[in-house]
């Protein structure tokens, strides 16, 4: 019992943000409930992002009703690759990335070969709400697949690395990159065994890396030295994050950003309740950062000015 209080005290001293604190002191104070719909619906988010020139994968179409499912081939006509995802999905559920296809066979990014019927089923499931929060009816968003930049090739096993930037009151507060591993099955979810690499918000360089909450220095599957990681176009990454604040008004958000070979950093989604694992990846508490921003960062700057402020002053 006493041990617990001691640990809690140490955590507090290290500025670690707990779940209750996040929900009560951060999310419920910074994020108005009515704003959630902007980010819970990926179609909405995408339209909004496009309207203020945030780079996102191009939307190919939406399938809203069951009868439209059979038109899939017509919708994706002219696109070599595409992604089907539930507009209200989360945690990568129901995201199907098609690398290549002909009339009958579809080759997914994870290496499966699917028939048209399988894809049809997948979309039907999506519409019926299998992948969405609370099982509500959903729509399937079809967008262009990102052509991932090769810079991270050695750092990820199969799946796609993405950058998560936590933005507090418009200022990038903390960042990490998630790398898939064999164990995580190509997914970038930390609790499934993906590697979390904490990135210095000022530089986009590795601070610390963890897998299953334990510090590591090399990728378990590819053997790449994680300490060498440096995200190119770092400023652009942060600007996307800062703009996401302008666009949604969410005081506390997590922007998921991937790097496209040709088009640069692209926003995949915004999260209104980003998790706390980023602290472990960074090896430091988030609360200290949030308080710093709250107390000493200027209030009325534009997105770019805020990013530059962080790049020059941030810790």
């Amino acid at each position: 019992m006493f041990e617990w209080f001691k640990t809690a005290k140490l955590l507090r001293e290290n500025g670690v943000l707990g779940m209750n604190d996040r929900n009560y002191s951060v999310i419920s104070k910074c994020n108005k409930r009515s704003l959630y719909t902007l980010v819970d619906d990926k179609v909405k988010t995408k339209r909004l992002a496009n309207s203020i020139c945030i780079n996102t994968p191009k939307m190919i179409g939406i399938i809203e009703y069951q009868f439209q499912v059979k038109n899939l081939l017509e919708i994706v006509k002219g696109y070599k690759t595409f992604v089907i995802k539930p507009a209200h999905g989360s945690g990568g559920k129901g995201v199907l990335v098609i690398k290549d296809y002909d009339g009958e066979k579809f080759y997914s990014a994870s290496g499966d070969v699917l028939s048209f019927n399988d894809v049809y089923q997948h979309i039907s499931n999506t519409l019926s709400g299998l992948f969405s929060l609370g099982g509500k009816y959903d729509v399937a968003l079809i967008e262009e697949a990102v052509i991932f930049s090769d810079v991270f090739k050695n750092f990820s096993y199969h799946g796609v690395p993405d950058v998560r930037v936590i933005v507090y009151k418009g200022y990038p507060a903390m960042a990490m990159m998630r790398l898939a591993t064999k164990e995580s099955g190509g997914r970038a979810n930390l609790h499934q065994g993906a590697v979390g690499v904490g990135l210095d918000v000022r530089t986009g360089r590795t601070l610390n890396a963890v897998m299953h909450n334990k510090p590591i220095t090399v990728h378990p599957d590819t053997g790449a030295n994680l300490m060498d990681l440096k995200v190119p176009f770092w400023r652009e990454h942060l600007i996307i994050g800062a703009l996401a604040y302008d666009m949604t008004g969410l005081g506390y958000l997590g922007a998921d950003i991937v790097l496209d070979k040709n088009r640069g950093p692209m926003m995949l989604e915004i999260n209104a309740r980003p998790g706390l694992a980023i602290q472990i990846a960074n090896g430091r508490g988030l609360k200290t950062r949030l308080e710093e921003i709250e107390e000493s960062y200027p209030k009325e700057l534009s997105a770019e000015q805020r990013v530059d402020f962080v790049l020059n002053n941030g810790k």
């Binding site: 707990g18 779940m19 604190d21 559920k93 099982g135 609790h191 499934q192 706390l276 602290q279 472990i280």
Partner: protein, 512 residues
């Protein structure tokens, strides 16, 4: 200090919590004191039924029967009275505490019944304080006076107060020929009492006879015992005639006091009165109304849930335990920090466990979830749409329950048929949710989640299955208000969850 600080949510809630605790404390005190509620579910109230059977032979004339009965709140509270006296006019003489029954032209054997239901020992001081008239000293011959003084001399050497001394002395010297004039001649207790009254009168101490009944389960055809009541130190005090003990012993009730006879029959002969005693028990909840009435606190009682019909009360009793169960879930999730399937699934599971019994319920539930998951895995290949698929699981669970119920019945094995009590929707939903988690997050995470759900359910079960807890939450339902504010206050708890302590442990940098 900022004004906003003063009115912060947490402070307001803490204040309300304190208020609710104060209110609940008062209310519990009130209910215990005026309604007789008890903190223990096992406590029962003894109800004594006293039957007085009056019988006599009527002689063809008008009949008047007068029976001494206990005064209001004599030493017990009266639950109810009943008089069976066909064709008699019954009048209650409040001042003299007598029951008067009059009949016209009666003949033959007459039987009249007086039944009294009483409960709760009480001390009625009003009766004890009635001031007696001044006592006349008895006129005594010289010889008697000498003996009297001698007796008083002896009484002084005895333990206790004057009256006790006299009783003890008389008991001791019963056979003493030198004092035969002041001692009782024959040894009936009535004569004994009268002599002592006389002895006391010599010193101007008022005293009278009291007739009391000892309440003993199954007593039949008994008569009243005679005791002595003397006015000492400005109050009437009862004395036992053989032991000289002070006060009315527990479970005794005084029927009548003073020199008048207990039963007085005009127009009849061979009259006698016999007493029978029966004991029954009632829960404090059942007695609450009477107690509230007896204490003049009926108003509050009439607007409480305890006046509702029994069925509603039972439903409420069940409902009243929910807040506590919710509190457990809130603590498990927000303070301990375990993830459960759904917010209140564990609570509903716990409720089912109460109905099925703990071990049978757990076994049955595991079997259902296990089989359900297997079935769900099998149909997963069929690629059904979501709603039909969940519906399939629901129907499957219903069929499963049916089969289990039949098997349980045939094998005479209650464990299996307890399946009936699990809410199918919950079961189906858990299966569905578990199988999705299984696909998405792997077996480990699923098992973890099921495990935590069960642990939370079990903890909740142990809280709500306790008879004590259930009784207290129902009898003192204002505690739910306290629970409400605790839950709300927990809603502002921003400390770490227990599980986070180990999760974030790597973030503690040593030496800093």
């Amino acid at each position: 200090m900022k004004l906003a600080n003063l009115f912060s949510v947490r402070k307001v809630l803490s204040f309300l919590l304190v208020l609710s605790v104060v209110y609940a404390t008062y209310s519990i005190y009130y209910k215990v004191k005026y309604w007789g509620f008890s903190l223990s579910p096992k406590q029962v109230t003894d109800i004594w039924t006293i039957d007085a059977k009056v019988s006599f032979d009527a002689m063809g004339e008008d009949v008047r029967v007068s029976l001494g009965v206990p005064a209001d709140n004599e030493s017990f509270k009266v639950l109810s009275e009943e008089i069976v006296a066909k064709n008699y006019d019954v009048v209650r003489d409040k001042a003299k505490n007598r029951l008067v029954m009059q009949g016209r032209k009666k003949e033959g054997k007459q039987k009249l019944y007086y039944r009294l239901n009483i409960y709760d020992d009480v001390q009625n001081n009003a009766i004890n304080k009635n001031k007696p008239a001044k006592v006349e000293r008895p006129l005594l011959s010289e010889e008697e006076q000498i003996q009297m003084n001698k007796l008083w001399e002896l009484a002084k050497n005895q333990d206790g107060d004057k009256v006790q001394g006299v009783i003890a002395a008389v008991n001791q010297e019963m056979m003493e020929p030198t004092m035969s004039l002041v001692l009782p001649l024959n040894h009936t207790s009535k004569e004994f009492a009268e002599k002592i009254i006389q002895i006391l009168a010599y010193k101007r101490i008022p005293a009278r006879i009291a007739r009391a009944l000892k309440l003993e389960e199954g007593k039949k055809n008994d008569s009243l015992s005679i005791m002595l009541e003397a006015y000492v130190d400005n109050k009437w005090t009862l004395y036992d005639l053989s032991t000289a003990k002070i006060g009315l012993p527990k479970n005794w009730v005084v029927f009548q006091r003073g020199g008048v006879s207990l039963l007085d029959v005009r127009g009849g002969e061979n009259s006698k009165v016999m007493f029978s005693v029966l004991k029954s028990v009632a829960t404090p909840l059942k007695m609450a109304e009477h107690r509230a009435k007896a204490n003049n606190e009926l108003w509050g009682y009439e607007y409480s849930i305890y006046t509702l019909p029994l069925m509603e009360q039972n439903a409420l009793k069940w409902l009243m335990i929910f807040p506590l169960a919710i509190l457990v879930v809130v603590i498990m999730r927000n303070v301990i920090g375990v993830t459960t399937m759904g917010t209140f699934t564990p609570m509903l599971l716990a409720m089912s466990l109460v109905k099925t019994g703990f071990v049978p319920g757990l076994i049955c539930f595991s079997v259902m979830i296990g089989l359900g998951l297997i079935m769900r895995a099998l149909v997963a290949r069929l690629n059904l749409l979501l709603v039909p698929r969940i519906s399939f699981v629901v129907i499957f669970v219903i069929l499963l329950i049916q089969v289990l119920a039949i098997i349980g019945y045939k094998l005479n094995y209650g464990i299996i048929s307890s399946a009936i009590f699990f809410p199918i929707i919950i079961t189906a939903w858990i299966i569905e949710r578990a199988s999705i988690t299984w696909e998405e997050e792997g077996a480990m995470n699923t098992l973890k989640e099921i495990f935590y759900t069960l642990v939370t359910a079990v903890v909740t079960y142990f809280v709500i299955s306790s008879e004590y807890v259930r009784h207290i939450m129902f009898a003192f339902n204002e505690l739910n208000l306290v629970v409400l504010f605790i839950v709300m206050l927990l809603g502002t708890y921003t400390g770490y969850r227990l599980t986070e302590l180990s999760r974030f442990a790597p973030l503690i940098r040593k030496g800093e």
